[in-house]
Symmetry: C2
Subunit: 396 residues, 2 copies
């Protein structure tokens, strides 16, 4: 079968022809309810509900969904499927189950998260949610454990490197939009508020900042520590009551573990910049995130048996994990700063800023975010604890 | 055609059926002179000479040539062919030209280096050679330039990662024999001289040393800076007059650039341990190596245009290259120490030690080597200059 972009009608026919998927939905095809819910930047997404169950169908488009003249290779669906298959091995309860992948249609059929809502939307709607950051910390540490050179035979990491090195179309987005564009002239950068121009130009001329960004670019491309989600912002997380799930792994690659941590924390900080009254709540989530991450990493990396740590004598393990965590922490701080800057002045900005009720409030939010982001990037190799991040964050 | 291990007779038939290779040799097949010259640990090697030219034929065996019960996947020939194809793009005069690769026969047919001899053999024979280290330094810097995130679009490095991540059979040898076995009980470790046992046991119980080895294991597996040769000792280099060539790239992988530098320097130091009267000569070669490497890297990485450095303002470049060289240098020191130790007490020892005329001299040579190797591993993150290496080396 050759590729065609699905509609609700053609998707109904498609699913009816797949016995396993049809029986998962139950009843006859004409009874299924199909609803398009695409709201990311890149793909078509449908929720299909039958008498017995539901599935989520995600299909890649040959272009950016929200920018049809920007071509985007369909193969990204393959990398998302590979990511879901790899993550299944990590046995985390916060993953989404993949039911089927059609490599000709670039279509993933997966568990539907029906009552769940996107974390970013719930934060913006000021829903009564809390402690969602501990599961995210566990998710990152479990996936790191399943792919790290410290805990696995090196052949495992080599195979993951081989599986994901071809994911260059989406990695190019990360390299350009997060790691480069905010710090140079680029037609992808939207026109900023006039008041921000001096700040932006000063950043683009700041040799210390550019040196720190260069260090983070180098870390992202050369520090291949573990399998990353690669786009772990609050829009890639869905939750309902205590059930927290990570979705949208199409940016997956081997990289520095702190990249996933940094993007997540950055999007919490950005939310607090847009909604300053929630700063204490957000600070608490960040503290929970890092405390849980530290505990889980210490538990999972105790007595490492991988090729890069199996020689360590027993009493050395804790010192080893501490040093490893410190390295991850520095990357976390740096990538957190880059994500804050990129979501504030770069191509893919965030809905959180719409919480600001006046142009003045929005400008102040962006100025605060840029100030925090710049400080984190500049100091990422020197900040020693999460308390220092929270302190930088609270001075604004 | 299915695989069979070649003999001079079957190789003659094989080459006769390949028009391009036959015409390169000239004349009829019965006039070709075929000579087996296998002397590495792993492969069959033949030199074929005709009226017009000569070729070198290297075929993988399904086991270690010198240990037939140790199986070894044939696919390593594919990775050596890929390495030669990649290195051809770096346009270094110190590579060997690949004429043909037969993936079914796991056979490489390449430029024959007829008057050339292996550097290790020439050192052992005390031939009048010098300044061979500058070309090796240029070779490493050129291949690093052609594959680095700093100088190339990241898609280049990603493709190299994809091409070489599957080279796990030979990387497993590196991980076990260089990075692990000397520091643990292993049946692959040969029985050492009794006098060395206390030193070896002390190393295997030295928590500081094991922590330093763990750091180097981590660097080797996660610091994917550039395409490495992966086995760049003095037995992988051939020379004749001023023509210096690097052979045997089957261990190739993306890794820390200092791994290639460290293995090379280690084998020079090992030669000086076995032949102490040549210490000044060797020290001079090491100095030439590092000076040339530094100069070439500064020249080639000036104004880097790759995705991991394109933001740097002009006056920042030199500081950037200096910091990059310092990172490479620390890896160089550490891997140099590991290689010295491994070639002294591990599985694949070196012929240089046969220069020692008495058991006492050999023991003293190994003790000196272990002492230097241990110091370099322990201090690899703190030694700041090549002069410090030469100082450690001269105290013995």
């Amino acid at each position: 079968m050759s590729y065609y972009a699905l509609t609700p009608d053609t998707l109904r026919d498609y699913l009816a022809q797949d016995e396993a998927l049809a029986s998962r939905l139950g009843g006859t095809a004409d009874t299924w309810h199909i609803r398009e819910v695409s709201d990311g930047n890149l793909n078509l997404v449908f929720i299909v509900t039958g008498h017995l169950g539901a599935v989520c169908c995600k299909q890649a488009l040959p272009h950016v969904r929200v920018a049809p003249t920007w071509p985007m290779p369909l193969e990204r669906a393959l990398f998302e499927a590979r990511y879901m298959q790899r993550i299944a091995q990590a046995k985390t309860p916060h993953a989404v189950e993949l039911y089927a992948f059609d490599n000709a249609m670039y279509l993933l059929v997966m568990e539907a998260l029906l009552p769940h809502q996107v974390l970013r939307s719930q934060l913006i709607a000021n829903k009564d949610i809390a402690c969602f950051s501990a599961p995210i910390a566990r998710y990152i540490s479990h996936t790191a454990h399943a792919s790290s050179w410290h805990t696995q035979r090196f052949e495992t990491g080599s195979q993951i490197l081989e599986e994901f090195s071809g994911n260059t179309a989406l990695t190019r987005i990360t390299v350009d939009l997060i790691l480069s564009d905010p710090f140079r002239q680029s037609e992808r950068n939207p026109t900023p508020e006039a008041e921000l121009l001096p700040v932006i130009h000063a950043m683009q001329d700041d040799a210390d900042l550019l040196r720190a960004v260069t260090h983070l670019q180098t870390r992202f491309l050369s520090a291949r520590q573990a399998l990353l989600h690669g786009d772990l912002h609050t829009g890639s997380i869905m939750l309902h009551d205590g059930d927290i799930r990570v979705i949208d792994g199409e940016f997956a690659l081997m990289g520095p573990i702190g990249f996933d941590c940094g993007l997540y924390i950055a999007n919490l900080i950005l939310h607090a910049c847009a909604a300053p009254s929630k700063a204490d709540f957000i600070r608490n989530e960040i503290q929970i995130f890092w405390d849980t991450f530290t505990e889980e990493m210490q538990r999972l990396f105790d007595r490492p048996q991988g090729d890069a740590a199996q020689l360590l004598p027993e009493h050395e393990d804790k010192a080893f994990v501490s040093a490893f965590l410190q390295e991850i922490f520095q990357d976390t701080v740096g990538f957190c700063g880059l994500e804050i800057i990129r979501r504030t002045i770069g191509f893919a900005q965030i809905a959180d800023y719409d919480l600001c009720e006046t142009p003045e409030a929005r400008l102040a939010a962006r100025q605060a975010a840029l100030s925090i982001g710049k400080a984190l990037v500049l100091q990422h190799q020197h900040i020693a604890s999460i308390a220092e991040i929270l302190a930088i964050f609270s001075t604004d």
